[in-house]
């Protein structure tokens, strides 16, 4: 993750003196009886690249549309740069949006579409021309400048939409699934360019995406949405390593969660008794749960080790049988069946080529993990 190093010192949300650039304050949006956005509060800081993740229909686009001014919040306030946006029409907001449906003007060709925003400003023709050329260069569409949108492929249209929203260099850019239709290579190229643009122009981005990998690499912070409200906000590392709920743990990456009861509850460690296995889980940090409470011990597949021999530890070890192996190139996925029938997902890097010692189907194996790898979730 190259980007996380770039942003490692960029944590304005931890600085109490920093003012948020976008302040979403208890915003709710109802369509009739249906609550699409439910009491969301979010602070987003200047130069952030904030990713919104969430299942289809959870209200991501609705939230962006309220920021752009196309939907009116049923209650709550939206402030951009300290200014209440309630009375400000979309054409006066310092915001540009890339639409999920692209919304390209069908009667204009690519360069007319891209230059549309600049033509609304008082710029000379020459300036507009050079900036359009630059932008088309950036999204690699120079040779299609004279085509109409219906003569383009889906990915090309998406790039036109992206170029059209970027060209005005707004303070706040809202991108609704900007890269979904691009192939892997072009997507990586465009991600890189987005980060470049951000560094050059200091734009604040809010990006909706379905691609976790993309969110992980691009985002300074991620907001995970669930049915209209924000389940968790945090850096990619926080979201991945310290998910706040089973929903978040499940939504980002894959996870094995074991239901259990806390049997020993100390400030510096807890022991959880698995409900359906004869196994104790030792966790090396304290947990804020009531004693004897029902909890879930969540562990990521890559944090489980798999071996033929008994690791010789009393806790944090389970026996099982390999049911399925999926070779993914750089790593393999093992589905291991435990006593009682449930399966655990384990991933292991393929360190050696054609490893003769490799674990194969139907072998009896031991699964074990470090006490720090467990996340204890109460909901």
């Amino acid at each position: 993750m190259a980007s996380s190093t770039t942003f490692s010192t960029f944590e304005p949300w931890k600085d109490p003196a920093e003012k948020p650039y976008v302040c979403i304050d208890r915003v709710t949006k109802k369509f009739g009886d249906f609550v699409a956005v439910n009491d969301i509060s979010l602070d987003i800081y200047r130069k952030e690249l904030f990713c919104l993740l969430g299942a289809s229909g959870c209200g991501k686009s609705t939230l962006l549309r309220m920021l752009a001014g196309f939907e009116e919040a049923s209650s709550g306030r939206i402030l951009i740069d300290g200014m209440d946006m309630a009375e400000i029409p979309p054409y006066e907001r310092p915001v540009n949006m890339m639409f999920q449906s692209y919304a390209l003007f069908p009667h204009m060709n690519v360069s007319q579409n891209v230059s549309f925003g600049l033509k609304q400003e008082k710029l000379t023709g020459q300036v507009i021309k050079t900036r359009v050329e630059e932008m088309l260069e950036l999204v690699k569409l120079t040779q299609f400048a004279k085509r109409k949108p219906h003569q383009l492929s889906g990915g090309q249209r998406q790039r036109v939409a992206l170029a059209r929203s970027l060209i005005k260099r707004p303070k706040l850019l809202l991108l609704d699934e900007p890269l979904a239709a691009l192939d892997k290579k072009l997507r990586e190229h465009t991600q890189f360019e987005l980060m470049n643009i951000q560094e050059q122009l200091g734009v604040t981005f809010i990006v909706v995406t379905h691609d976790q990998q993309e969110a992980m690499t691009l985002a300074t912070r991620i907001g995970v949405m669930e049915e209209g409200y924000i389940a968790q906000v945090g850096t990619p590392t926080e979201i991945y390593e310290f998910p706040g709920s089973r929903f978040v743990a499940d939504f980002i990456g894959s996870v094995n969660s074991f239901e259990g009861r806390i049997t020993v509850d100390e400030p510096d460690h807890v022991i959880i008794r698995m409900l359906d296995q004869d196994v104790d889980i030792f966790v090396d940090h304290g947990v804020s749960a009531s004693p004897n409470a029902r909890v879930w011990a969540a562990i990521r597949p890559e944090k489980i080790h798999i071996s033929r021999t008994d690791p010789g530890q009393a806790r944090n070890v389970i026996r099982g049988k390999v049911k399925e192996i999926a070779y993914m190139g750089d790593f393999s996925i093992y589905l291991v069946e435990l006593a009682g029938g449930r399966t655990v997902r384990v991933t292991q890097p393929n360190l050696r080529r054609g490893d003769p010692e490799r674990i194969t189907w139907d072998e009896q194996v031991f699964l074990h993990w470090l006490p720090s790898s467990i996340v204890v979730l109460t909901e």
Binding site: Y91, F105, P106, K148, H150
Partner: protein, 334 residues
Amino acid sequence: MTTRGIPAVTGRIIRQAESLLKRAGLEGLAIWLARRVRRVRHLGRNLVIAIPYAWLLAFFLIPFVIVLKIALSDAAIAQPPYTPLWEWVGDQYLNIKVNLGNFMFLVEDNLYWKSYLNSVKVALVSTVACLLIGYPMAYGIARAKSAYRTILLMLVILPFWTSFLIRVYAWIGILKNNGLLNNFLMWLGVIDSPIVMLQTDFAVYLGIVYSYLPFMILPLYANLEKLDETLLEAAYDLGCKPARTFLTVTLPLSVPGIIAGSMLVFIPAVGEFVIPALLGAPDTLMIGRILWDEFFGNRDWPVASAVAIALLLLLVIPIVILQHNQARNSEANS
């Protein structure tokens, strides 16, 4: 069953029949059957295309040729009132007499020129007026809540439930000197003596605009209703104010609707006879009236036919423009 389903089913039956025949050792018969069926299917497709052509031939081309024939003959006091175009003389000479004089007459007598130009002027002005009135109405209906939309559309179509003629007569009652409008204005005290409105150009324009407004609104509505609202949002988002958005996005995208509506108003308005006859002054020069006068007043069928042919040519040009435009549009939207 869909329309594609029927050939599919017949195809299946035929294929089964073929394989049955083949199995029975009747190879030749099977091939013959297949060929027959293919030919019949071909015939069916041609038949479907032929029906509209036959219609056009019977009800457009043949009458047109008859009218053209009359236009090329001489007027005569006879029954029918024109000379025949060809005659056998002494059983061996075919005597063809083509009279181009009627068309020359149209060019020479400036009455016809003037009435043509006046018809075009009246039609153009009415079309523009219909557009200016109809566009906001169509836009309003297209942007209304879907529950109201049907009602509003019904209101646009409602006048068609009364005869066109009766509606034009009704305007006489409204516009005449002691009619509804004048009485109302005098009651209000705006005017002391009635304004002459009936038998003026104003009344003709009013009548045409009133009668043809739905033909403008309906195609415009059909077009504006399809307009993707996110395009307007995209324009606003890029800093375009509503008025400018209308000019740069909505208006260009509604050009096909504007053209269709304008044609539907312009073409019948050029040849309009009833409205100028009932609402216009007796000396209103419109080609539809001239045509009527030539036929029934002067009983000069050849000249009247020549007028009709010229009128037709005058109308064909905008239709060709319309078709050209539609072809270009469907190409652009494909």
